[in-house]
């Protein structure tokens, strides 16, 4: 053995010994965010998120900005709940976010509700708990006995899915740690699910019975978006909700000519879901749409009135309705081999370069400023692979410095959904407030099961009436009404197959900005419906601010409230170490308005200091500032 070989062996041996002897590095806990040394460096280093941490630090944003950026782009806006807040951001919070982001990337599509959220779900949205086939069968049976109850129960089954989605966005990032409520600020699973639900938009009302329940359309997508785009597309195209929404259940092939009677699904599959362009762009022609429609004949739903075993997918390939002719689509000829032909077609479409490019543009637009998109799309295309590995795509985008730079910070407009949810989160909406209100309303037990619906319609109607009168139900319904007003449609009931614009700038108008300007007050009033809540619009918080305003200058009281209560960080420009800083003009407005009671929010009976907190909330949360993410 040469001297050089010996040296290498020794080095290798030492390295192995160190690796064996070194204790497993523990991931930072949310209770350890103050573990920094004198220089401000976190004593606990990132583990799974080490690469992400390095990229975050390379972008040039402060720790406060990094947390604000992460919670706004990869969640639904910052919350003042728990120790991880913009106001207290430091190196440890960045370490935590990096590790948490790595964890959430790895668990896309596999997130489970917390125990408290499950309590709320069972109590307030019980119709989301049951198997779609069971629920549909029960609704059908109920219809034979009492039409009105069946109809309102069906409405409830659809509406409750929007309740559940919104609740997961509001408080899905919150959990109890050692009995204390904390918010990890990131909610990547729900962010991505919203993108995919909108990409594969269906108006839940149309397929109705085909889309409800614990394995209805939105819940199935929730479990399917963590793998590859090929898997996601194949899953969606077997969903009875999608098939019925785009009329493929009525798509029959002429037994002689093979011509399809309905092209809706075929057209949107090409134009919206995959290659992303119309039939006049040269990539494909009308003949391709017609051939695709023929291929989809027989790609059908199981009649919803047919008794089905629990867990039945609701999809059926009916060979009697299928085309028996070979079909040429996008230049490739597919033989008539039944269900396998459609599966092959969907796989080919999902892997098409135009699909990859269209999807990369859509995903990148959700996360990046316009000026950064070209390079980000290139990174996405590289990470896409052959099947569209969605976790790899996201990881590649988030592991680029560009995502974490000032050029990408607060450069996108929130959608109406994001805006309402973000304002509620900013106010300090709490998972535990909803959970305790659910318990206090005696809604902890599921009030009915599908099996009971056919036998006791009056009891069902009474249970639903009780449900609708309960504070947590009213609160979430009120918040959804705000979303509906600004979005133009109820959630999950957006009519066009193309969904709603995910660029919030598309909603901007004088009316929209006017509505947004009142959101702080209005969302606070929605939360008022919850008894004993402890968010920032609660009576106790108002009294704190009012007392402060009575004993300090207006400016000091404002700063105290924004920084200490709302945990916005250094919000006044004169403060040092800018983290979350109001525009000077905005501070002037806040100061001027708060100092002139005549300009406070009009409250006919008491335009006094008692309304100052409402005024402040309205100004802060309904401002243009909050419309950016």
């Amino acid at each position: 053995m040469s001297r050089r070989q010996m040296l290498m062996a020794v080095v290798l041996g030492v390295a192995m010994a160190l690796a064996i002897a070194a204790p497993a590095t523990a991931q930072i806990q949310i209770t350890q965010l103050s573990s920094v040394d004198a220089s401000g460096r976190c004593l606990i280093r990132p583990t799974g998120g080490a690469t992400l941490y390095a990229r975050m630090m390379a972008g040039g944003l402060s720790h406060a900005q990094l947390l604000h950026h992460a919670s706004s782009r990869l969640g639904f806006g910052p919350s003042p709940i728990g120790p991880l807040t913009v106001a207290s951001a430091n190196d440890c919070s960045t370490v935590f976010v990096a590790d948490e982001l790595a964890r959430q990337l790895a668990s896309l599509g596999a997130v489970t509700d917390t125990a408290q959220l499950t309590t709320i779900r069972r109590g307030v949205f019980p119709l989301t708990m049951f198997d779609r086939a069971d629920l549909s069968g029960a609704l059908w049976a109920l219809r034979q006995i009492q039409m009105a109850t069946s109809q309102t129960t069906s409405w409830e089954a659809r509406t409750s899915l929007t309740f559940l989605k919104t609740m997961r966005e509001l408080v899905g990032s919150q959990q109890l740690v050692n009995g204390a409520l904390v918010d990890v600020q990131l909610n990547l699973d729900e962010v991505m699910l919203e993108l995919w639900l909108n990409h594969f938009n269906i108006e839940l009302e149309k397929p109705s019975y085909y889309a409800y329940g614990s394995n209805g359309y939105s819940e199935v997508l929730r479990r399917a978006h963590g793998g590859t785009f090929t898997t996601l597309l194949t899953t969606v195209m077997r969903q009875p909700g999608m098939l019925f929404y785009l009329d493929n259940q009525a798509n029959l092939c002429d037994p002689v000519t093979g011509a399809a009677s309905n092209q809706n699904l075929a057209r949107e599959l090409l134009e919206l879901h995959t290659v992303g362009v119309g039939p006049t762009t040269g990539l494909y022609a009308q003949a391709d749409v017609e051939a695709m429609a023929s291929a989809l004949c027989g790609w059908n739903v199981v009649p919803w009135t047919t008794p089905m075993a629990t867990g039945h997918p609701g999809f059926v390939f009916n060979g009697m309705l299928a085309s028996t002719k070979p079909l040429t689509i996008l230049g490739k000829t597919y033989p008539a081999n039944g269900e396998a032909r459609v599966t092959e077609l969907l796989t080919d479409l999902s892997k098409h370069a135009a699909t990859r490019d269209a999807l990369c543009k859509k995903i990148v637009a959700r996360f990046h400023a316009p000026s950064l998109r070209t390079a980000a799309v290139d990174a996405c295309v590289t990470a896409w692979g052959t099947t569209g590995d969605l976790e790899s795509v996201l990881r590649a985008l988030l592991q680029r410095d560009a995502f974490w730079t000032a050029a990408n910070y607060r450069t996108l407009q929130r959608t109406p959904i994001e805006l309402v949810v973000a304002v509620a989160r900013r106010l300090g909406v709490k998972l535990t407030d909803f959970a305790s209100a659910t318990t206090k309303s005696n809604l902890t037990e599921t009030p009915f099961q599908p099996a009971q619906m056919g036998s006791s319609p009056d009891a069902i109607a009474a249970s639903l009436a009780t449900l609708r009168g309960a504070p947590p139900y009213k609160t979430i319904r009120d918040l959804l009404a705000r979303i509906e007003l600004m979005l133009g449609f109820p959630r999950l009931k957006v009519p066009p197959p193309s969904g709603y614009p995910m660029d919030g700038a598309a909603f901007l108008s004088s009316t929209y900005v006017d509505d947004a300007s009142r959101l702080g007050l209005e969302v606070a009033s929605s939360l008022n419906l919850l008894p004993d809540r402890t968010d920032l619009s609660s009576t106790a918080e108002r009294q704190s601010l009012d007392a402060k305003l009575g004993s300090a200058t207006d400016a000091a009281a404002i700063e105290w409230f924004l920084e200490q209560r709302m945990k916005l960080g250094n919000v006044i420009p004169s403060s040092s170490a800018a983290g979350f800083v109001l525009a000077a003009a905005h501070v002037d407005i806040v100061t001027a308005v708060i100092g002139a009671t005549a300009a406070w929010v009009v409250h006919v009976n008491a335009p006094t200091v008692a309304r100052s907190s409402d005024t402040l909330l309205g100004l802060m949360l309904g401002s243009a500032y909050e419309m950016w993410r």
Partner: protein, 127 residues
């Protein structure tokens, strides 16, 4: 045969002949040519359809082929035509025709229910 019976028989034949002659043709299946046509109906058109609808038909039980009788005539004809054309071209057995009928009746029933008695209706309580 008495003269009275002869008149009755002639009248019966005439009624049947008129019924056959005035029988509505089933809707012709064919491709939907336009993307704009392909979009689902708006709430406004759905509401118009609901307003235009006559009294709701008897509620069928779609898993039973006999439920065909519960569909409005034009919908029943659509099903019959599809089953007849497909059955003839594919040489379907009687059992296969029954299966196909049940499938198509269910599809059609959903549409009928939607335009007569909606499946879902919001509660009337104040928000």
């Amino acid at each position: 045969m008495s003269r009275k019976l002869l008149v009755l028989a002639t009248a019966a034949v005439a009624v049947v002949a008129i019924a056959i002659a005035t029988r509505r043709a089933p809707p012709a299946p064919g491709p939907v040519p336009s993307s704009s046509l392909a979009r689902p109906a708006t709430a406004a058109t759905a509401a118009t359809a609901a307003t235009d609808a006559q009294a709701p038909p008897p509620v069928p039980t779609p898993s039973d082929p006999d439920a065909l009788a519960g569909l409005p005539p034009e919908d029943a004809e659509w099903v019959l035509d599809a089953v007849a054309r497909t059955g003839q071209a594919r040489e379907l057995s009687a059992e296969q025709r029954r299966e196909l009928t049940a499938q198509l009746v269910s599809v059609r029933t959903h549409a009928v229910l939607e335009r007569t008695e909606p499946l879902a209706v919001a509660p009337q309580e104040s928000p």
